[in-house]
């Protein structure tokens, strides 16, 4: 709070206080406020700090000079999967209603592709700015920023870099007023500086615990805990559980080549969800080996205080060895089923009992 006021005093009033959260739509959620003096700034920062915006707790605010935008420009780079090329988007009609503009007047957004092997040149940027209908004194600085944005998008391994709005202020300055950046987790190893921005605190506690263990987890609202290998199989498991009349409590993908430790960690995460009444472990081994999965389950039975029965369906690489390990430990807490549908039915029945 004191830091916010100090920043306001240093910048000079009026200032804008902006919630720092990793989701869009914060302005509409009340996370952006104007303050005309230190008193208003204290009130604004007090109101915004501690707010929850789309499930993210606001733990810090950004304070900056309040500027009246004469024009608002939208620009971004992202990857276009259909074209397999980088996609630049630029519009003279930026601002908080850009999504509406995209639906109602798609022609107001100029789109262009950049081959990942190429740089994006100043000449191309000038042409894009012209095609987007951005004219006058702002054209040149906007083109320059577009080139810089592309370079940053590539150098920083971003999946999305978006500035909206880029404001053209009455005195001619061009100022980025809000930006959204999505970084590629797969590239985190070459960006050790990203660690400081990681906001695990804002996540669902179940998702946070899974993330810390390196598992891909999405919390849902049913009672059947799901653990599987491969996004496709796990999604399919959710579908089959629904067909069997149940609801999944989560999506949890242990990925390829999961070791016994990873399986134990996954059981730990799912077990911690109080809504879970039965756990369905669905593994079809390729790079994942059946005996590792079975060892992990048996280990978890000894180590974790499992509240719910486990239903396992195991097939694929070394499934025989895995099933033998499970058979030696079969009980009313650990059940093996030969097919996905039978296992789903059993898990749904156990969750309901």
């Amino acid at each position: 709070m004191e830091q916010a006021v100090a920043a306001g005093d240093a910048i000079g009033y009026p200032v804008v206080v902006k919630a720092q959260v990793p989701v869009g739509g914060r302005g509409k959620a009340g996370g952006v406020k104007v303050a005309n003096d230190a008193g208003e700034l204290t009130a604004a920062a007090g109101a915004v700090l501690g707010m929850s915006i789309k499930g993210h707790l606001v733990r810090s605010v950004w304070v900056e000079e309040a500027l009246a935008a004469a024009r608002e420009i939208y620009f971004s780079f992202t990857f276009d999967r259909a074209a397999k090329l980088h996609l630049g988007m630029l519009s003279a009609r930026g601002g908080i209603d850009i999504e509406q503009v995209a639906v109602e007047s798609p022609e107001a957004i100029h789109r262009f592709h950049v081959n990942p092997l190429e740089r994006f040149s100043q000449e191309e940027a000038v042409a894009a700015v012209d095609a987007a209908g951005i004219t006058g004194d702002a054209a040149e600085p906007v083109a320059g920023l577009l080139v810089k944005l592309y370079d940053a998008y590539v150098a920083e391994d971003a999946e999305l870099m978006e500035v909206n709005p880029l404001a053209v202020v009455a005195d001619g300055r061009v100022v980025g007023m809000d930006a959204k950046v999505v970084l590629d987790d797969n590239a985190a190893w070459r960006h050790p500086d990203w660690e400081q921005w990681r906001d695990l605190a804002g996540l669902d506690p179940r998702e946070r615990s899974a993330r810390e263990k390196g598992l891909t987890y999405v919390g849902l609202d049913g009672s059947v805990g799901i653990i599987g290998n491969g996004a496709g199989l796990v999604m399919s498991t959710l579908d089959v559980v629904a067909q069997a009349g149940g609801r999944a409590a989560n999506f949890l993908d242990v990925g390829g080549g999961a070791s016994a430790d990873v399986i134990t960690a996954a059981l730990d995460v799912v077990n911690a969800d109080p809504a879970v009444r039965a756990i369905f472990v669905n593994i079809f081994g390729g790079i994942t080996r059946g005996e590792e999965v079975a060892k992990g389950i048996v280990e978890a039975l000894g180590r974790v205080d499992l509240r719910s029965p486990i239903v396992v369906r195991l097939d694929g690489t070394n499934a025989e060895e895995g099933r033998a390990i499970l058979a030696a430990h079969e009980s009313d807490r650990l059940v093996s089923r030969p097919t996905m549908l039978e296992a789903a039915r059993t898990a749904v029945a156990l969750a309901a009992s």
Binding site: R81, K84, H86, L220, G232, L233, M235, G285, D315
Partner: protein, 293 residues
Amino acid sequence: MSILVDASTRVLVQGLTGSQGRFHGLRNRAYGTSVVAGVTPGKGGMDVEGIPVFDTVAEAVEATDAVASLIFVPARGAAAAVIEAGEAGIALVVCITEGIPLHDEARAFHHLARNCPGTRLLGPNCPGVISPGKANLGITPGEIALPGGPVGVVSRSGTLTYQALHELTRNGIGQTTCVGIGGDPVPGTGFIDCLRLFQADPETRAVIMIGEIGGSDEEAAAAFIAEEMDKPVVAYVAGVTAPPGRRMGHAGAIVSGGKGGAAAKIEALEAAGATVVLDPTELGSRMAEVLDL
């Protein structure tokens, strides 16, 4: 016949000396695949149970006439490994590695497209390709596949590919070739490439196609099926109950703004004349009906 690989395909394994490369490389050889070389920089001159290891792909090709490469190199070096294979003239590069940074993957894809027109990339982040009884390049458990055809399988999801093979085999239906195209944002080979090859393969009588939510590749494949295929297609799309807007594992598996959802994909495939099942364990029995077995 089969597509992409058969018993005569000479294969080198990039990353053969690593734990995954060794396990699966040897398993592929035990299946009958002609694994002729391994490549690990700095380990040239070694061998892995009789398979000679070279420092570079070019040296391995020179010495062994390998035409296909199977990549188990860790994510940090996998894109460079793909490019190295392409530049050494490898015709089929199968990249199993998952977790490759998007920008690396995009650059590797376009590098091959621009500089190595004779190279086909399969993957990354895929289970590979198996022509049952002939060759297995990748991590598909060979024992769940049944040789002899007449069904071709193409899938975006690794584990569901195995499910499909398992269900076909259980129903006594053999496979010509099963291709896992992978779930990454920039797959080297897509549904349409495989559907075209299966359509042209005289021994393939029908095709199983497994899609996932996210992107629009299934819709594009549906258009291809409607316009260019006369062989029957049985399809499954995972993620019917996935909540919109949530990312579920694969970079590919994202539903947003009503686009990329399972319902639209299923509708497009049905409109194209494909038989769509809602439970992957029905893939085998429905295929038996379609083939009138």
